[in-house]
Symmetry: C2
Subunit: 661 residues, 2 copies
């Protein structure tokens, strides 16, 4: 082991293993996760070539090979718990989505949720056994978030009892579904249902797209890969153009709404149940944020511990990069964020399970709040993480640009979370809608409960941003709970600013919709402040459950750093809200420097606690043993351009050129 | 042409062509640029396959082919002016660096600047005629910015009158030089010179690395490609390990320092001339920032004009994305930044040329200021642009992830500017060193001139952050010059904060170096504020030279938006500095919304004015005609994964799997 990193580990003030348990949710979870990891990493069937050395087609090929192996082995080992499958899969395809993801995560669940019993009999077992490989085709080339805008049509023909599916325009071509391009032979297609001359809006249809034996596209189906992307090279995101494709009436998903053989449309019982799925998916994405941050910080901090550069004091040896204040200021707040988001992810999972129980008992009361919160936190954590990964990458100097660092891959595989499952700005506005509604309720005298209850107080305080700035500040910067309170007040002020902006627009005789659009900047800011408040609050509350003194101490330091860093980055908001004073902002800057020094001896241990297996991290810079350069050299020598000493282009172009000059 | 984008163009309030002249620096420059573009784009020898469809080796191959063509054609057409060569090259390799870049931009110039007359005779013509293809090998795998840390050795052997070059450790392997991996047969190697038992520090040596005929690596040379990176796929960034490589004494660059045949070392005449080159390269990078922003804004704004999504008013057709306030807020400040950075780049080029003249007359007085300014502006503009590209990309929804949008490529080709030619944090600290030195001079009563003269005033004002916050604000937010003044005052306060932090550390008996390191966060902030001030100042001054009323009006709106957006993003600083009051910050937020509406009809024309040829932009989303989706579909169908209808992996893995389940 590299002596620098060894020394870092000896200096840690706490028991790393115990922090891993906290992050995993208990020692049993850690144990089982490690068992699964060793199952995959010791299995030669999952050996792979570094995808960065392969062409797109070879990457796809390798991913299909490993996915097929995985399906066999999961059944062989009897691994069926979703969380365990997740761990297994994330070792088989470390950090990379795979072509079968949508089959497993969307096609099978949609069958389970929306197929009638007869459809289940017909489709489920073939899909379970991968005779049917399916995807979920909703987005079109010209249409995303707004479902009513989708153009694909499914017109019922009572004469043959079939639906005729069409992509009537270029903009209606299905676009982006994972696994659609080459892998799937079926797709669940979302289309506008027409029957007996009326449109009944969007419905789901089970559409065979490739021959079950030859895998050739069926008549009327134009299907293929949408081409290379920023990341997701293993996945055949696809397009699908439907040209008078006929499917039997029975292929419409019929659990809720129906079309009778004569074409009569039967309304679905109204249902808010899809909210639950969305909340679940978004809480998973918050978890992805935490994991991407954990990986990026692990790489950047370990490498900063072994990398020596320049000089602080002349004549002395080059210091570890980790000793530069600017490097600490780049990385330690992100490390704190990694812990914060992990705890937020745990918190969301807990309330999701709690509320699911309530729903099963018929109590839907908390669902709107959770739905709004999950939208905002999805956006907040993915945007923050997206920037953070790049800060980590650039903190590694030139080597952060090498694919061997893994940081470019972490970025390109993560960044789509800002857009998919709800574009972030749209998500923030969804949360804002809930906040403004709650604000109005509080203003109307209703007593709010739950996470927005602070809007009651703001009514009592009658916040006037101009006025409060002159008041003495209300935060004790040496007390984390008081800082959390400061975030709450900032959120309250920004929700009020947004609500007032809408009101002013309405007074100028704007329509509700224009008033909303003309206040959208304020609304996004309010949501952002609300989510930020939730994150610091959750971090603070997590600390209360930690008994080990040494661990409590170091995690408290992280929490205070996270909270203070957020205040300095948004000091205008906090000053405007009268939460802190100008001298306090300066004190916080000084305090942050002290916190950085205080954390310095523990940061390598704090990333070790994420316990990311070297094979999962797959980064020469982030290796546990710190032996960076020899492995980078070894990796480079395996690069395909080094397969021959002289590249053929020398003989083809350079040699002839020399003779012509 | 797409009717939406056509309508946008009809609505513009100014003459686009005239703005293009302003951006190019005059109508003649525009004319010549377009001539060169049509020379390349009409030349079938430069036809290419989309690199995103090629393997790394094929991309390298295609780049070498086109580079070879380019060298021939430049001579054929007699194009020799550096600016014209730049335009030509940027059409041949649109948006992509090439394997011969370092030969042209570093190897040949280094020969010109550092070779003795005898060396020129020997090496220059072969290099000019590409018999010798060279690169510049400075960085090592374990060493970057800090030149004294480089480990490669060149030990003089008087017995044979040779230098013996060695890479004594893994960390000393030369790493990153462009064109080193496969293309070059020579390298200028930077190594620690040892002669007669003494080390004389870093010197440059001309080292043959591959056989002139076979192109095979020479004995003692281990050379190859460093493997795939985030971008730069056409370039064979390379490694070089030297194992007792002997070169004649004459291969040390001898224009300045020398080693006599007996091993006597002759000191170079001291020289600050390399400052000039660094300033030039950094001003080029500021130009790259402006161009990357121009491209990204062109794509995002044109696509937002033709893309319809969701609804503002229920029942109405989906509006253009450009009508959403959040979209305007994302993009218009970046468009303003694109203009700002273009003018800053022009400004830097002008002062570079002016100061070069002074230097030629023996007047070095302005060089330190320019050197400091160029370092900071390089960092400021590249960091800002780096984030901005990603905002543009993500503002395009899912399609921003497609390589067909060009945005992923713009990002990966641009982001290295944050690290190369001086890592940004290091650059900011260089500027800070100048600022603190100037501050101390002013404090000691010296009258400063030039861009830092505002530090005189701050001495007069005796800035006390705590105190000033209570004073009435000093900025008239309706006056751009007054806003510029606000930026100046913010910079003055932050320079003072940083200088005082150092002072306080010294008072705690810290060494100068530790005091500096413990104040580094404040120093970077001060530099950032200084650079921001320079940018708004330059933008404001540029407006003074614009006579056309319509153009002056729209560019003024951009300038005010840029200045105000910067204030809201850093409102804590401005509040702390007492430059603006809390009510003013709220007024600015309202004013920004008005500016967005005001700019709305002109934004497509404002990006058109950048006049980026469709073939140079190479983006289906950014096409001038706005016909986005049909071309995206066409592009996707050409993707290599669509070469066959059924991918071989189906037969290899999926089919057999089905039979086993």
């Amino acid at each position: 082991m590299n002596p620098d990193i060894k020394r870092e580990r000896l200096n840690a003030s706490f028991d790393v293993e115990k922090v891993t348990y906290i992050l995993d949710g208990g020692p049993e979870k850690t144990k089982r996760r490690r068992e699964i990891e060793s199952l995959v990493f010791s299995d030669p069937d999952f050996n792979e070539e570094d995808p960065n050395f392969l062409s797109r087609s070879e990457r796809y090929d390798q991913a299909i090979r490993k996915s097929a192996q995985m399906v066999l082995k999961l059944r062989e080992y009897g691994i069926a718990d979703p969380e365990e499958i997740y761990h297994y899969k994330s070792c088989v395809h470390p950090g990379r989505p795979s072509p079968l993801d949508l089959h497993l995560a969307m096609f099978l669940p949609t069958l389970l949720n929306q197929a009638s019993p007869a459809q289940m009999d017909h489709f489920f077992m073939p899909a379970w056994n991968l005779k049917i490989i399916g995807t979920y085709a909703q987005t079109e080339i010209g249409h995303g978030t707004h479902l009513r805008g989708l153009e694909t049509t499914a017109t019922y023909d009572p004469a043959t009892q079939e639906f005729v599916l069409n992509s009537p325009t270029v903009s209606s071509i299905k676009w982006w579904p994972g696994g659609l391009g080459k892998t799937s032979n079926y797709a669940i297609v979302l289309a506008q249902l027409y029957t007996l001359g009326n449109c009944h809006g969007l419905h789901a249809f089970i559409v065979p797209i490739r021959d079950m034996t030859t895998h050739e596209p069926l008549p009327g189906i134009v299907v293929g890969d949408i081409g290379p992307k920023f990341g997701f090279s293993e996945v055949d995101n696809g397009f699908l153009k439907l040209e008078n494709v006929r499917i039997p009436r029975e292929n419409m998903m019929m659990k809720y709404s129906k079309v009778e053989p004569d074409g009569t449309y039967v309304n679905p019982p109204s249902s808010k149940l899809t909210y639950g799925t969305m909340v679940f998916v978004r809480s998973m994405i918050v978890g992805e944020s935490a994991r991407a941050l954990a990986k990026s910080c692990t790489i950047a901090i370990r490498y900063s511990a072994v990398r020596h550069q320049s000089e602080i004091r002349p004549g002395e040896p080059e210091p570890q990069i980790l000793d530069y204040q600017t490097q600490q200021y780049k990385l330690f707040p992100l490390l704190a964020m990694g812990y914060a988001f992990t705890f937020v992810s745990q918190y969301m999972t807990e309330i999701y399970h709690r509320i699911t129980e309530h729903i099963n008992q018929g109590d839907f009361s908390e669902l709107p709040e959770l739905h709004a919160l999950s939208a905002g936190l999805k956006a907040f954590t993915t945007w923050e993480t997206n920037s953070a990964i790049e800060v980590c990458r650039m903190s590694c100097g030139g080597h952060g640009y090498s694919r061997s660092s893994a940081l470019p891959d972490i970025y390109v595989e993560f960044t789509p979370t800002c857009t998919y499952e709800g574009e972030n700005t749209v998500m923030m506005l969804q949360t804002a809608r809930y906040l403004v509604k709650s604000y109005r309720q509080a203003k109307a005298g209703q007593q709010l409960s739950g996470i927005v209850s602070y809007l009651n107080e703001s009514q009592n305080r009658r916040v006037q941003p101009q006025a409060v700035a002159a008041r003495p500040p209300v935060v004790d910067i040496n007390d984390l709970s008081s800082l959390v309170d400061g975030y709450k007040q900032r959120a309250a002020v920004l929700v009020e600013v947004a609500a007032k902006s809408i009101q002013q627009e309405l007074q100028r005789r704007k329509s509700q919709e224009d008033a909303w659009n003309n206040s959208a900047i304020d609304l996004v800011r309010a949501s952002d402040a609300h989510c930020h408040y939730v994150v610091v609050k959750v971090f603070n509350e997590k600390l209360k459950g930690i008994g080990d003194t040494a661990i409590h101490s170091v995690l408290s330091t992280l929490a205070v750093l996270y909270a203070m860093h957020g205040i300095t980055k948004n000091s205008g908001d906090f000053l405007q809200a009268g939460v802190v004073s100008v001298p306090q902002v300066l004190q916080i800057s000084v305090r942050i420097k002290e916190l950085l020094s205080q954390l310095r001896p523990n940061v390598v241990a704090l990333v070790d606690a994420f316990d990311i297996h070297d094979k999962k991290l797959n980064s020469v810079l982030g290796r546990y043993d710190g032996n960076v350069y020899e492995h980078m050299f070894e990796w480079a020598r395996r690069s395909p351009l080094n397969a021959t000493e002289v590249h053929e282009s020398f003989h083809k172009y350079l040699k002839p050129l020399q003779s012509r000059l």
